[in-house]
Symmetry: C2
Subunit: 217 residues, 2 copies
């Protein structure tokens, strides 16, 4: 197993949400932001916001808050989003299409530059400006310069084969939306995205409500 | 702000992945599972698996592992998935379509029974067995018996209006995929799903790799 430094997973998962808010503030011409404003927006405790933000290394100033532009820079730097990242998407079904249409990615410097699929109905289609290409063309396309990240949006049964192909082409980071545990060499990093994870969160909160309700019956 | 008991967010988010694996084992006729097997599948440390599972209240037995059926029951009970949950989906675009096609939901007892949209091209369409209905019919449809959970997959600009409508119909749990912070009354629980959260995780691991690489330059 790959040994990572211990990560504050919930804090990292929140970073894009801070960034989304801050980029909107920047577009609206706002100069400064307080942790209180961010806590209200995120609907979490003030102390959690402060801890999250301190991860980026920025020094907060009491009372005056953070400089919006500076905080954006620190968050982007923390995530490695200060320089553009190129990615390939495999699987142009409904989920893949949704990801191609996700507007924020471009603000994060995350660019899905190539889309491949194996289905004849999808090959040749234009989705949000990208043309879906035949997956059999992928090796030739990436012979010299593979993108850093691959996003897997194929069926569970096809995912391992796709992952093997990606690894053989030199891709090191895989964002996997298929519901399978991919087997990859130790130098490859897989981030498995389990959509139902959010449903589990909501369900536990619902369960807590029910327990409180039952206590008062 | 709603005061929740402190939740182990990463553990809760992992529960559906355990469940997915265990349900597959159950279907394959496996009777017992060890924490080691689960740790390998999840690609996390053994101690983390043990902690995660202990949250469900099951008592593990050293050397013999867990009874697969029993562990499924405990996880489902922990999440409140032991009885079916009905949900409505608002927004039948590509992301909504992907959720309707997510096979595991039915094994979790999560049933998206109604789908609404406002777009004439989508109304009347059949998606994985559900007919998309006009959102203007929603109040009448849910007058007597609103589902417990609503899934919002509409555009960022439409999300707050949809949320207001859902709250007025008595829906208490909202799984929000729009990239906005919804304003709701205190008794309503919103789980905001930020797709880019997983990308942030992958990006931080990539950043760590780069730092290690740079150290040895």
């Amino acid at each position: 197993m790959r040994q990572d430094r211990i990560l504050n997973i919930p804090a990292i998962r929140r970073m894009p949400t801070y960034l989304h808010k801050l980029l909107k503030m920047q577009a609206d011409g706002k100069i400064r932001v307080s942790s209180t404003e961010l806590a209200e927006y995120m609907n979490i405790e003030l102390i959690v916001v402060r801890k999250d933000i301190s991860l980026t290394g920025i020094s907060g100033q009491r009372r005056v808050g953070y400089d919006v532009n500076e905080l954006i820079r620190y968050i982007k730097n923390y995530l490695g989003w200060n320089t553009p990242i190129e990615a390939v998407l495999i699987g142009a079904g409904s989920l893949g299409t949704a990801l191609l249409g996700y507007n924020d990615f471009e603000h994060y410097g995350f660019c899905i530059s190539h889309v491949f699929d194996s289905s004849p109905e999808k090959i040749g289609k234009n989705i949000y400006g990208r043309t879906v290409r035949d997956i059999s063309e992928m090796p030739e396309c990436f012979r010299d310069n593979p993108p850093e990240i691959a996003v897997i949006c194929v069926s569970n049964t096809a995912a391992q084969e796709v992952a093997d192909k990606l690894v053989s082409l030199g891709i090191k980071y895989i964002w996997n939306f298929a519901n399978v545990s991919l087997q990859v060499p130790p130098h490859v990093v897989v981030q498995r995205e389990v959509i139902a994870g959010g449903l589990a969160m909501l369900s536990v909160k619902r369960k807590q409500d029910q327990e409180v309700f039952n206590q008062f019956q």
